[in-house]
Structures are given as C-alpha cells and as structure tokens.
C-alpha cells in the first residue's frame, strides 16, 4: 500500500513536468528568434551578397512566418528530430548524444569528489562548532567558492602538469595515443572498465582528475555549509537528547540518528548543485578542452544556431525534470513522512 502511494506520487510528478517542458519549447523558440544575429548571413559567409543570403534564408526555411516555423519545429520534435546544426551540419540530437556523456561524466565525478570531501567536513565542523576543524572548513570552502573556476583550473594545470608533471596535458577526455573505448554508457571510465581495458581506464581517469577537482573546489561550499547547518540542527534536536539520555553510543547518535535526519536537506542541495554545475561548467570545459555540452551551447549561441540552442535547452530541461524526480524518489525513500501528507 505504502509503495502504491509512493509510485503514484512519482507518476504525478512526471505528469506535472509535462506543462513545464511544453513551456520551455515555446520560450526557447521565441528567445532564439529574438536573438540579434542572422544565421543566414553567418552561413553565407562574409563575401556573400544580399541575394545569396536571401537564397540561403529560403533554404533554411527562415523566410516563413514564425508560427509556421514553430509548427514544423514541433512536428519534427514530436518525431524525435531536433534539427540540424547550421554550423557543423551535424544533426543536433547526434551532437548532444556525443557531448552530453562527456559533461555528465565530468559533473558526476566532480560532484562525487565534492560530496566525499564536503559532507565529512560539514559533519566534523558541526560536531565541534567554532573549533579548529570548523575554522579550517570555513577557510577551505570560502577559498573554493571565491576563486573563479578558470583560475583554479589554470592553477591546477600549472602546478600538476607544467611543474610537477603528474597530470597528463589538459587536452580533452583521452590522450591521443589511446582509442576511445567502445561506447556503452558514453562515460569513458566506465566503458573502459566494461571493456576490461585498464590502461585506457587509467588514462581517462587521469584526464578527468584535474577538471573534476576544479569543479569540486567550487562546489564544496554549498554542500559543506548545508551539511554543517542541518547537522547542527539535527544534533540540537530533542530526539538526540533522548538518544543521549538512553546512553546510545556516540557513533549511533551521530551517524544513525543525527546524520540520516540531516541528510534530507543535503540531498536537495546536491541536486541543485548538480544542475547548476552541468549548465555552468563552460569555463572548465574551455580550460581543459573538454568536448562537453557547455562549450557546444556557447558556440551555437554565438552564431545563432537555432536548432542547436533549442536542442541544448530542451536537453537540459529534460535532465532537470529527471533530476528533480530522482531527488523526490530519494526523499521518499529516506523520509517516511513524504507522501503521507498532501
């Protein structure tokens, strides 16, 4: 019965996302059209005259009225066709499928790294507020969030590649001497492992470490601060006093009782940080020549590549919906109270 309630909750969350997605389709269409810049002029090249630009505009279908363009866009969309990028000539769906895994791999790895450092740090800081651990935590996260990612990225490259020589050159996902592993998930590290090709795995991981560290440093702050705050609140709550008065061990009090309660807001923060990172790591992708979705979007935007921009925004929107759903599911599993009210 309880599961029935929860699975229905998930279904309804999905249904609630549909109007949002429809809205995004409309808004991105209008916004891309409102952008200054003419894709036909760009496509025709600097030497083209007015007549050839008009011809290209006609070829691209941009001379038709906006509602007609919108209708054909939506019709294509419903058939799973995101259109073709005018700058590369590649279908947008294909480009996204190539680049999205690169961004996801980087972001997920960075998030994992960040959470592995920030959560224990936050817990340690919360157990002894204003102690040296707390001060050190505060210093680290403030520094992490104050330094821009392109700066920390360059600094890490300078130290670990240029001076120490520990890291491989910051040139994309895999050194040129290795072949990409056969695609299963699109994550090079995982695909290499699945292929039992450990040399490629190590090489992919080595490429991943520096950009992931750069991103992780930047995201330590929200995760560590939220962990600290919600852990302090949990440790100060009345059920912890009951647990102490019952003589439960410190480990049980801190981890089983306080930590599990404190994790609920942290899960939400993780979701927010993840979606923020995915869209905002363009600078990191540029510094490390990472063939991700962020740099793709910026390049498309610069040349008013309508189909590419629309495809990117839509892909991000779908990811957001799925991510929020995932957070809801985690929440429902972690907190028995969810789904009972409402």
């Amino acid at each position: 019965m309880a599961l029935g309630v929860k699975s229905r909750l998930i279904l309804s969350r999905l249904a609630q996302a549909l109007p949002a997605l429809a809205g995004i389709v409309v808004v991105t269409f209008i916004l891309t059209r409102a952008l200054p810049g003419d894709p036909a002029a760009y496509f025709a090249g600097p030497a083209a005259d007015a007549r050839s630009i008009a011809q290209i505009r006609e070829q691209l279908g941009l001379d038709r009225p906006l509602p007609v363009q919108f209708l054909s866009y939506v019709t294509d969309l419903l058939q799973g066709d995101l259109g073709r990028s005018i700058s590369t000539g590649q279908p947008v769906a294909e480009a996204l499928m190539q680049r999205l895994p690169a961004s996801l791999e980087l972001t997920l790895f960075a998030l994992l790294l960040s959470a592995l450092i920030a959560i224990p740090l936050g817990v340690a800081a919360a157990r002894r507020p204003d102690s040296w651990v707390d001060q050190a935590c505060r210093l680290l996260v403030t520094a992490g969030v104050s330094l821009p990612t392109f700066f920390t990225g360059l600094l890490l490259v300078y130290v670990f590649y240029f001076i120490l020589g520990w890291a491989p050159p910051p040139l994309g996902r895999l050194d040129l001497i290795y072949l990409s592993p056969p695609q299963v998930t699109g994550f090079f590290t995982i695909d290499a492992l699945l292929d039992r090709d450990f040399a490629t795995f190590r090489a992919a991981l080595a490429q991943l470490v520096l950009p992931a560290m750069t991103l992780a440093l930047f995201t330590l702050a929200p995760i560590a601060r939220m962990t600290r705050a919600s852990m302090i609140q949990a440790l100060g709550s009345e059920f912890i006093r009951t647990a102490r008065a019952s003589g439960l061990s410190e480990r049980r009090i801190v981890y089983t009782y306080a930590f599990r309660n404190a994790m609920l807001p942290v899960v939400t923060t993780l979701g927010m940080v993840f979606s923020f990172m995915l869209g905002a790591n363009v600078l990191v992708e540029k510094v490390f020549a990472w063939p991700g979705i962020g740099s793709f979007a910026v390049e498309a935007l610069v040349v008013s590549d309508y189909a590419a921009v629309q495809g990117f925004v839509l892909a991000m929107a779908v990811l957001f919906v799925l991510l929020n759903l995932l957070i809801d599911v985690v929440y429902t599993l972690a907190d028995p109270r969810v789904g009972m009210e409402g």
Binding site: L11, A245, G247, L248, S249, E250, P336, R337, M340
Partner: protein, 561 residues
C-alpha cells in the same frame, strides 16, 4: 541519608552565554531514596529541568556543573568519565521528556528505536531484540504492538508517542526514572492515563522517580515529596500532603494560590486579593432581544487525505466518506456573556472558532452575528467585511502570534490600520496607549520587540491587539495554555476586568475545566464534533451529567487536600 539512591549536594550549574556566565541552578540539595517518588515543581526558568539534566550529565555544551556533588548509588556523577556515564544513562537512570513527538527520531521505526536501547545495554541480542521491543510496547499498553513496531512517530498520537518514550526509558529496568514534564501538552484524560501508567510501572519495578512539572496539583497527586524551585534555588521541600495545605515559603504560597482548584474565584488566584473585583458584581443578563451570536447546525467536513493527483483519483475510485470535524452543532451567545468551549484535542473546538472568525468556510449551517448570517460570506472576502472589526481573536501562543519585526505598539496598532480606517501614526499611537494602559502594559514596553518581552507581557500585547478596536465578540483560543500559573492568574483576571469595562462577549476555548468554571458563565463540552453537554459553567464542572464530562472532570489531578 544512607538509603538514598541519588544524593545531590550544593549543586551549581552555569551556562556560558554571550552576556557572560549565567547560573541556572544554585546550591541545590536534594535526595531520592530507593523506591521513593519526588516532584520538582517550578515555573519556567526555575532551573528544574537543568537540575535533572545535570544529574544525567546531558547539559548542552555551554552548560557545566560548576560546583557541588551528584552521587548516584556510589558513583560520583559529576566527575565520572564519559564511558561510565554512557553506561549509566538508559541503564540505571533514564528519562521521559516533554513533547513526546519530538523526542523520538522521526525517520526511524519506533520498534527499532527501542531495540537500539536494548542492544546498547546488552538487554537483548539481535535475535530476540524485536520480540523484546514488542513486549515492551505491550507493557506500556499500546494496542496491536506487533503492528505498531513498524510505525513511525508521525503515525501515532501524542499520548501514544509518550508511551513509546516510556517504553524506551523503562527498557533496561533502570533504578531511577526522571520524568520531565511528561504530560504537558497532552489532554487531561491522556495525562491521567500516562501518569497512572508511569506510577504503576515505577511501583511494579521498585524504581525511584523524579517528576519535574510546573503543575503543583499534578506533583502533589502523584509524588510523595515535593521540592519547589524558584530562580535556580530550592525554596521549599515538603511532603506532598503538606505543600498544598500548609505552604511555608511566600513563593510556594503564591504558587498554591495561583493554581486553579475547586471552590476558588478568579480573584483568589492573585497574590493580593484585596483589589475590588469588577467581575464579581453580578453581570447583567441581557436575555431580551436577539443573541449576539447564534450558530445553527454548523458542519465542517474535511475530505479524506487527498491523493496527489487527478490521475490517482481515477485509479482509486472508492472515495472515503469525508470526515466531519464539526458535526452539526448549535448554540447561542448573548451580549456580554462568556461562553466556554471545552474539549480535548481533535474534538472540533478550534475548527468551530475558526469558522466563527470566518477563517474557514462551513460545509453547512449558519452563523448569525448580530442578526446577520456571516456564515454565508466566503472566508476569502470576510477580511473586507464591515463586521470583521467587531470580531477579534486572541491566539494560544503569545510568541508565535506576534510578528517578530513589529514592536509591541505596531502590533497593537495593526488592526487599527487594517480595519479601523486609521491612517495617521499619532492617531494610532493615542489609541494604542489607551488600550495598553487598560491591559496593564507599561508605557516603556511599547517600543520593544517580542523577543524583548516576557511571556506574560506578550500575552498582554496579543490581548491589547484584539481589544483595540473595541470588538463585540472576542474568541479566546486557549490564551493561557502556554503561560505559567502565576501569569495565567493575572491574565485571566485581566480578561475578566476588560470584559466588565468594555462590555464584550467572549467565546473562551479551553481544555482546562477549572479555568472555564472561573471565567465563563456557560460552558459547552464538545466531543468528536458534537456538543455532549451544555449548562452553566459551575454546573458542568460540579455536577456533570454526561458520562464523558464526568470522565473529564475525574481526570483532573486531585492533590491531597
């Protein structure tokens, strides 16, 4: 005292705060013998809870035992190491807390929480812990314990949660049980059931008990000896029988006096009863003419917990009967009359008052206010209705019902700006100062913010805010439930004086029958959305007719008088 289990001598507890060191407990001596029950009584801030936390060494990190000794069965608690204390807690000394719902881990099954304690103190192994936890649940008389083992705290009532906390505390058969306000916030019948259960289990296992409470009546009814604390010090120690009959210290006398009890009037609660009592002059019975408020067949039903979406409503076709929170009640309230609305939590009394205040729309029935059916006006638009200013509400929690960013004067002036058509600040100020004088709020407190005021002062602000428009009807929703008895005495008298002075009617919602008897003319007893008894306030308490009312009256703690 060689036979004593717990011996506290010269105990001083200090807290480090931003404003320096605060002594919460000062030079307290007390002892509890084996099998003895001791009550520590005091008002908020008296240090009674801090004393017990010091005994268990669970003071928060800012607090410490500055002086004195705590000996428990030969163990020096004040100087014991943390390992010894962790073994002692729950195993030898355990505690039952106020607010049972918050005292349990909200996301862990209650059965697992009991198991945690059993396993920690080696009272059970992983194999038989579940069975033992279920036995404990049965022992605290939780029906269907096998099922309830899997329940989460939010699925249980307050009284039920308190039973779980008791099971937790008694799991390892400790020698001393400290019960810290175990029944505050519970209904009177639940209070009786919980206290009876605690006392019975304590006696059965030959345990000692310390009961910490603000309620002198409860203390005297359930304990052998009573210690009275004020501002961190013990002011009197006496047997339960003598503390009520023959209090020695001035503070105890004031406390006894302020405790609502049979056969006293409102004025008797005050420390100085010589003040002329306006409310004692017989009030004019204005039976002639139409009543100020007439409620006819009022019903409020809430749809059962709505499923999340339309989709699921289609999937789940069987629609449950809507629950009737208020189930067809009718009553009248005359001009100048005070009507008490009595009942336990969930009986529909708050829903009723919310409908009369037009914060909730009734499902059916009518509410005539001064001859006009205000029940027909949607709650949404009533805020702009001309009659809105004639109805005011005083809330239960004096702190939460004040905007923390408003000064007292601004809070009181709020209805003037919103409903009274006042726009000029000096005009509002005059009216505020006038009403502040009437409610006894000193002039210099008017520019303070809520956090700079005491509980009693905040209650006065709430009352002044309701009275500033000189309404015809004031709904008082448990206005003294969160206050200490001495403050309650003053606030109740203030309400009686204001009524006499301004000629208002009160609808007084309360769970405390003694308070209703003293303040109200008539009383209605509600149960499960219906009125089960109606009559003069004195008659309802002294000669209850309905079985339920009799049960309520008999559940009031009876101190030995």
């Amino acid at each position: 005292m060689s036979g004593s289990l717990l011996q506290v001598e010269n105990l001083t507890v200090e807290f480090r705060t931003r404003n320096g060191i605060v002594r919460a407990v000062e030079r307290v001596d007390l002892s509890v013998g084996r099998g003895e029950t001791l009550a520590i009584v005091g008002e908020s801030g008296s240090g009674k809870s801090v004393t017990s936390y010091a005994v268990m060494r669970i003071l928060d990190s800012a607090g410490s035992i500055a002086q004195g000794s705590v000996m428990f069965s030969g163990i020096d608690v004040a100087n014991a190491d943390e390992d010894t204390m962790a073994t002692l807690r729950g195993r030898e000394i355990s505690m039952v807390f106020q607010n049972p719902r918050l005292a349990l881990n909200p996301i862990r099954k209650i059965g697992r929480q009991i198991e945690d304690v059993l396993i920690r103190h080696v009272q059970a192994t992983h194999n038989n812990a579940k069975q033992k936890a279920i036995e404990l649940l049965a022992k605290v008389r939780i029906a269907r314990p096998e099922e309830r083992y899997d329940a989460y705290p939010f699925e249980l009532s307050g009284g039920m949660c308190q039973r779980v906390v008791i099971a937790l505390a008694l799991a390892c058969k400790p020698r001393l049980l400290i019960a810290d306000e175990p029944t505050t916030g519970l209904d009177v019948r639940t209070q009786k059931a919980v206290m009876d259960l605690i006392v019975e289990l304590v006696a059965e296992q030959g345990m000692s008990m310390i009961l910490i409470t603000h309620d002198l009546g409860l203390a005297a009814a359930y304990c052998e000896r009573v210690i009275v604390m004020e501002k961190g010090r013990v002011v009197e120690a006496a047997s339960a029988a003598s503390v009520f009959k023959d209090p020695q210290e001035p503070y105890t006398k004031r406390l006894v006096r302020a405790t609502p009890r049979p056969g006293v009037s409102l004025r008797d609660l005050l420390p100085d009863p010589e003040i002329p009592y306006a409310a004692q002059t017989p009030r004019t019975e204005s039976v002639e003419g139409q009543p100020l408020l007439e409620v006819r067949d009022l019903v409020k039903s809430f749809a059962p917990a709505q499923s999340a979406s339309l989709l699921s409503r289609f999937m789940n076709k069987s629609v449950a009967e809507p629950a009737r929170s208020v189930d067809g009640i009718s009553f009248t309230l005359a001009k100048g009359e005070t009507l008490g609305l009595v009942g336990e939590s969930g009986c529909g009394k708050s829903t009723t008052s919310a409908m009369i205040m037009r914060l909730l729309d009734p499902t059916s029935g009518s509410i005539f206010f001064a001859g006009r059916d205000i029940g027909a006006i949607p709650a949404r638009s009533f805020a702009r209705d001309a009659d809105r200013a004639r109805l005011q509400l005083v809330f239960q929690d004096p702190t939460d019902s004040l905007n923390p960013r408003f000064t007292a004067a601004r809070a009181i002036a709020d209805p003037l700006y919103r409903l009274g058509g006042v726009t000029r600040a000096d005009e509002a100020r005059t009216a505020v100062e006038e009403i502040a004088k009437m409610v006894g709020l000193p002039h210099d407190l008017l520019d303070r913010f809520p956090h700079q005021l005491s509980g009693g002062q905040k209650a006065r602000v709430g009352i002044a805010r309701a009275m500033v428009l000189r309404p015809d009807l004031v709904v008082l929703d448990e206005p003294t439930a969160a206050l200490d008895v001495s403050v309650q005495a003053i606030v109740l008298n203030l309400l009686a004086d204001l009524r006499a002075e301004l000629g208002m009617s009160y609808l007084f919602v309360s769970h405390d029958l003694q308070v209703v008897r003293m303040l109200c003319d008539r009383a209605l007893v509600m149960r499960a959305g219906r009125i089960v008894e109606e009559g003069s306030a004195a008659a309802v308490l002294e000669d209850p007719q309905h079985a339920y009312t009799r049960e309520l009256v008999s559940a009031i703690p009876h101190p030995p008088l």
